[in-house]
């Protein structure tokens, strides 16, 4: 009960303080706002990127061609060896003999059909194939090399360049955004520290009287810490508005995909609410970090 009363007092004090030094508070709030907008964009972009890399990865296939001289036992051997490679999804090893490949190609195209019609089993220049899916797309090239070493495997093919490049591109984009976000958060924290420092200075007299009449450290410090959290909360309002109204608008405008229907955007509900909550929490935490370091530094009790 007493605790609750004291907390109520702290919140009231923090609230008053934000408006008493409004121009200063506004500077901090704007900085938090800008930071959180960028953080929000990064979060939404990186969620979408991991969403579609996952989709691409799911479709990623290695094709291994078997030498024509391979016997039935040797093919069985290859299959067993493939199962032993840890990055290969055991359930997704598909074998097709060259006649099956021929049939498949014939159904796909009229031209293939006429050309291939004349081939019998001996003439068929195609090769038996294994179609393999991997668990982790980032290690696909390593896995491909392992497969190449298996006896009687002629050639190994996968979406080499494209996939690798895509993954490294996303990776470097991520790193740059993380760097920017961290730098922005540091600047924000620095500004909050300064805001709270000035509040502490402007209330020096009050603080010294509080100490004199027996207020505990907790009572003295809490309003300032809450003030920082409050600044963070206020700073998150505009970014949250932008998320909740902006993302669905963008989504509708792009019809839910980027460039091709293969690359889907995450649908807005409940995604925007999750991100909004994250942004609010980040704002409050950043505010709290700023105000607690200011209190630790400038409010010696």
């Amino acid at each position: 009960m007493k605790m609750l009363r004291m907390l109520g007092r702290s919140i009231r004090d923090a609230f008053k303080s934000v408006f008493r030094n409004f121009s200063l508070s506004l500077a901090s709030i704007s900085c938090i706002t800008i930071t959180l907008i960028i953080v929000a964009i990064s979060i939404m972009a990186s969620y979408n990127v991991s969403n579609f890399t996952e989709e691409i990865e799911k479709d990623l296939t290695i094709v291994a061609f078997v030498e024509n001289s391979a016997t039935k036992e040797e093919i069985e051997n290859i299959k067993n060896e493939l199962k032993n490679i840890s990055n290969i999804n055991q359930k997704e090893i598909k074998y097709e003999s060259k006649s099956q490949v021929k049939q498949e190609m014939q159904t796909q195209s009229e031209i293939f059909n006429t050309v291939m019609e004349g081939w019998d089993e001996e003439d068929n220049p195609l090769k038996d194939t294994f179609q393999i899916k991997v668990k982790n797309a980032e290690e696909i090239s390593k896995t491909a090399k392992q497969i190449e070493k298996i006896e009687k495997i002629a050639i190994v093919r996968y979406g080499e360049g494209m996939v690798d490049k895509l993954i490294t591109a996303f990776d470097s984009i991520k790193k740059v955004t993380y760097g920017t976000v961290i730098a922005l958060i540091l600047v924000t924290i620095f500004l909050i520290i300064n805001t709270i420092k000035l509040t502490i200075y402007s209330r020096k007299r009050e603080i010294s009287i509080m100490r004199l009449v027996g207020a505990s450290n907790f009572t003295i410090k809490t309003p300032f810490i809450i003030e920082g959290m409050f600044l963070g909360l206020l700073g998150s309002l505009i970014p949250i508005g932008m998320i909740i109204f902006g993302y669905p608008a963008l989504y509708d405008r792009m019809n839910g995909y980027v460039f091709t229907p293969l690359v889907n955007l995450i649908s807005p509900t409940p995604f925007v609410y999750t991100v909004s909550l994250m942004i609010m929490i980040i704002g409050i935490i950043v505010g709290m970090i700023g105000s607690s370091s200011a209190v630790r530094k400038y409010l010696k009790v």
Partner: protein
Amino acid sequence: MDIIRLKNVKKQYKNGTTAIYDLSLNIEKGSFVFIIGGSGSGKSTLMKMLYREEKPTKGQIIVGGLNVAKLRNSKVYKLRRKLGIVFQDYRLLPKQTVYENVAFAMEVIGATKQETRVKVLKALEIVGLKNKVHSYPDQLSGGEQQRVAIARAIVNNPKMLLCDEPTGNLDPEMSIEIMKIIEKINKDWGTTVLVVTHDKEIVNKMKKQVITLKEGRLVNNKAKGTYDNENA
């Protein structure tokens, strides 16, 4: 019973100035004590050590059962709640009314609104300011401001009242008013009172215990003392 006990207390400030040399002193519960002495004799330093604004360099200080020298910073509030402290410069909050200034001391220790109200009005009645609850400090005379400060100091019914030159800024008539209020608190509530003062007339008139410091040393401790010019 002694409510304050000092044993071989020495205080040397960081810059090397020694303000108190080897002071031993006991003060009985419920007493009214004047602390006198010339400028720089260590009176304020002694008071500051009692309410733990300063730590002694050496020796032991017990105030209301708390070992003040060993008290951690985070526990100082426990000591302060046993004390009421009054200064020469009142130390009021200028933007708050008389009522709010006194209530402040209750609020920050977590008292309820009703409890605060009852006690604040009682304290203001004791100092004779019940008709000024809504005034701001700058609308009051010096004596009235000091009475607000006293009300704030006693609103929690502290065991001890420490006053460092409470009448230092006031004219003789006002000073007598203030001392009467402090004396009344001492008599009615049994609050132990320590008053640092330079006011010769008041000390001589009130015939209380007088402790005299000189250059950081205790030179006199008399039950019904007077202001002795030779020692001061």
